[in-house]
């Protein structure tokens, strides 16, 4: 069973490495969105410092929505997904491997890039640290919840927009606790409580999301 997990993980990572431009688009989207805000709001540093956690988190949320389309669509188009539904392995495990690979190539770069963007907004070093941790805990949750939406909208007209409509409301708690943790740290209240909540959300979605996505994939492939 672990062998299958490893195979899918390796396969998806290999595929991602052979199409590196796809990875870059998500990352650039993230960077551009975050960099647009000062242009829209004005370069007043006090304001920017105040909105930094929210801006970075919202941008990360949007970027991960953008990446969701790639999670199952290619496999659906060439029929490999159909074969995954017909394996003797538990489907939720295969789905989990796919989500994990997807997070590694689309989520982790965002996490690593975020502190750099935080500097644009003059975040304190503790703020940057918590931003990194909160994204590290939060982005996998976004991928996991997003996978359900991606699976449900597979092969539908306008699937890309639809998936955002379905998934964004469900990710609000992640946004609240993610951005909140940084804000609380910056304002000196301490963001530990928020981070625990993010961890709890991650654990919960780890348990539920692969199963729900697997069920959704079976429905979408009928």
């Amino acid at each position: 069973m672990f062998e299958t997990f490893r195979t899918i993980l390796k396969r998806d990572l290999t595929l991602a490495m052979r199409r590196r431009t796809d990875l870059m688009t998500t990352l650039f989207f993230f960077v551009i969105v975050v960099s647009l805000f000062p242009l829209g709001i004005g370069p007043e540093m006090n304001t920017l410092r105040l909105i930094a956690p929210g801006v970075v988190w919202v941008a990360a949320l949007l970027a991960s929505m953008l990446a969701l389309e790639r999670l199952f669509a290619a496999d659906h188009a060439d029929g490999t997904l159909e074969q995954m539904l017909l394996t003797p392995q538990p489907l939720a495990l295969l789905v989990f491997a796919k989500i994990f690979a997807h997070w590694l190539v689309s989520g982790v770069p965002l996490v690593l890039m975020a502190p750099l963007l935080g500097l644009q907004y003059d975040l304190s070093s503790e703020g940057l640290q918590v931003l990194l941790i909160s994204l590290l805990l939060g982005t996998p949750t976004l991928s996991l919840i997003g996978a359900i939406g991606a699976a449900l909208t597979l092969g539908l007209r306008g699937g890309g927009v639809l998936v955002s409509l379905l998934v964004l409301p469900l990710t609000i708690p992640v946004l609240i606790f993610g951005a909140g943790s940084v804000e609380a740290t910056v304002s000196g209240l301490g963001g530990d409580g928020h981070l625990y909540m993010l961890g709890a959300l991650l654990v919960m979605s780890l348990v539920l999301a692969p199963v729900a996505s697997a069920a959704a994939l079976r429905i979408s492939n009928e």
């Binding site: 639809l162 469900l170 609240i176 606790f177 959300l201 539920l208 429905i219 979408s220």
Partner: protein
């Protein structure tokens, strides 16, 4: 006695048997809605005493509160029907879920709209990022997502099943969303709207509120029944019973 009731239940799980029953329920709940709505609105606007703190503007809570309650109830009921449809593969349950969604969305919309109307005179602003209003807004988005997903899938059975998964995920998420919004609200020391006088509520106000709540229930049942009837007709249009009914001009 019990046994026969049990059999009756199964009988009505078929769309053909449920269709006429839904018609009867629709008729009765429409009548109840009309009567209770008329009485309730009269009480709300003319009989209930003026609130000593909030003046006349508070009267909108007689619509706002029942609508907000209904929007939440309906989501849970909808998810329940959808889940039953998914697990037991019963067509009618899924149809009920689809029939409830627009009413639920409408209720959420009314709650938001009246909330804004209430906020303007009370707070001087149309929108306040209050925890309850924000949660209601998110609930409204969840309804829209459900409706959008179902309407973009052509095959009705796939639409039912996909909608069911979304509704179940939504139900699991609603408490989490609610508490996270609450937490967010208290941390940011945002404005907290308090609607109604809680324990100090006068007896007339309480009766009016209860009456309006029952009226909203009846209204929701009536619209759901009328919608489920059209869904049944649409989905079963190739069956003999629908065609016979059309021929006899009963539909």
């Amino acid at each position: 006695m019990n046994n026969s009731r049990f059999i009756n239940w199964f009988k009505f799980s078929s769309p053909a048997a449920f269709y006429p029953l839904a018609g009867k329920i629709w008729l009765w709940s429409t009548v109840i809605t009309a009567v209770l709505m008329a009485v309730g609105l009269y009480l709300s606007f003319f009989v209930a005493p003026t609130d000593y703190k909030q003046g006349e503007g508070y009267r909108i809570i007689f619509i706002h509160v029942p609508a907000a309650w209904m929007s939440m109830f309906i989501y849970v009921i909808m998810a329940g029907w959808a889940a039953v449809g998914l697990v037991f593969n019963t067509r009618l349950s899924s149809m009920m879920a689809s029939a409830l969604a627009p009413t639920g969305a409408l209720m959420a919309f009314i709650a938001l709209w009246t909330g804004a109307f209430w906020g303007k005179p009370m707070w001087g602003t149309w929108w306040v990022w209050d925890a309850r209003l924000t949660s209601e807004l998110i609930l409204f988005f969840l309804y829209l997502g459900f409706i959008a997903l179902q309407s973009s899938i052509d095959d009705p059975r796939r639409a039912d099943r996909a909608g069911a998964i979304l509704a179940i995920v939504g139900v699991v998420n609603i408490p989490i969303i609610y508490y996270s919004v609450q937490w967010w609200n208290t941390l940011h020391q945002g404005a907290t709207i308090k609607m109604g006088g809680e324990s100090s509520m006068e007896a007339t106000m309480l009766y009016t509120m209860l009456l309006m709540t029952v009226a909203f229930w009846a209204y929701s049942i009536a619209t759901a029944m009328s919608r489920v009837r059209s869904i049944i007709l649409e989905r079963e249009k190739d069956t003999t019973w629908v065609q016979e009914m059309v021929r006899e001009g009963k539909a």
